[in-house]
């Protein structure tokens, strides 16, 4: 899909453009919200972000990619939600109980002795490890290591210099590594 065509159609409020926007971006918005917030408000975030996109598309000048702009809105909306959570002082539970069993890692044939330790990694351990990270750390790891976005794109989304992003990601990775290794030693 030609991005310019999509933007023009969104500005003209054409229904097909909304369909494309929702199909292409709602899963990504939801995914970021899930990693950032660790809460059940993903649908609400998706809703708020898409409404903001539809309302703000006329002001979108195309200085960055559409996806970067949408990700930036998503991060801002997520930050608003985090602020709300802090105000309400809510304690959120992560993923539903019972899901854990689905994610037990299975060893692959031919793998070295690592597989024994990897076997022990359960979804519960992953959940706990990720919960120990700050939302910003989780977001950086998600954008770079899961979604494979470039440092420049992440810098654009978070509106921070590339050097800051690299440095923060380095520490986020180190923290996650440390948590995982500690988990291994204890487990």
């Amino acid at each position: 899909m030609n991005e310019k065509l999509l933007i023009d159609a969104l500005k003209k409020r054409q229904n097909w453009a909304y369909e494309v926007l929702y199909r292409e971006y709602a899963p990504k918005i939801g995914s970021i919200a899930k990693s950032f917030l660790n809460s059940d408000d993903v649908d609400d975030v998706v809703q708020d972000v898409i409404i903001r996109v539809l309302k703000g598309i006329k002001k979108f000048r195309g200085d960055s990619k559409l996806s970067t702009w949408i990700y930036r809105i998503t991060v801002n909306v997520c930050k608003d939600y985090l602020q709300r959570y802090k105000r309400r002082n809510e304690v959120f539970t992560d993923f539903q109980e019972g899901e854990e069993d689905e994610y037990y890692l299975q060893p692959k044939s031919g793998e070295d002795i690592l597989k024994d330790s990897l076997l022990e990694i359960t979804a519960e351990r992953v959940r706990m490890a990720l919960e120990k990270l700050s939302p910003e750390d989780r977001l950086l790891i998600k954008l770079r290591d899961v979604d494979d976005l470039s440092y420049e794109e992440i810098a654009n989304i978070l509106q921070k210099p590339v050097g800051t992003i690299k440095s923060r990601l380095h520490y986020a990775r180190q923290r996650l590594r440390k948590i995982l290794e500690e988990g291994e030693e204890n487990g």
Partner: protein
């Protein structure tokens, strides 16, 4: 950035790093796979319709407010105009009466001029 970062960023291969880093990397990749699964999100059709409805409703509300403001301005203008009609009518009446008076004055002045001429 250390070896681990370079490995993750594809700047180094597994063969180029120490055993410790390789082990950490493999563990980390596994975690990322699970993290990816955890973050997966499939938006529903219901949500799509809901967002569209909410957006259209918001636009309709905005249009309604603008129309309301416009209608109020028109109403105030008409009301003001209506209330000020009696004085306007008075002016109109005065304008109608004035020619009668001025005609008389004009007539007198003409008579005066004629008499002066004579």
């Amino acid at each position: 950035m250390d070896e681990f970062d370079r490995l993750l960023d594809g700047e180094k291969s597994l063969e180029e790093v120490s055993d410790d880093v390789r082990r950490s990397y493999q563990l980390y990749r596994k975690i990322l796979e699970m993290y990816k699964v955890r973050c997966e999100y499939t938006p529903s059709e219901r949500l799509k319709e809901k967002i569209l409805r909410r957006y259209k409703r918001k636009s309709a509300v905005l249009t309604g407010v603008l129309l309301g403001v416009f209608a109020s301005v028109i109403f105030v203008f008409v009301l003001f105009d209506t209330l000020s009609l009696p004085s306007y009518r008075k002016e109109k009446l005065a304008q109608v009466q004035n020619p009668v008076v001025s005609d008389v004055i004009y007539f007198i002045k003409t008579v005066e001029l004629i008499s002066d001429g004579w």
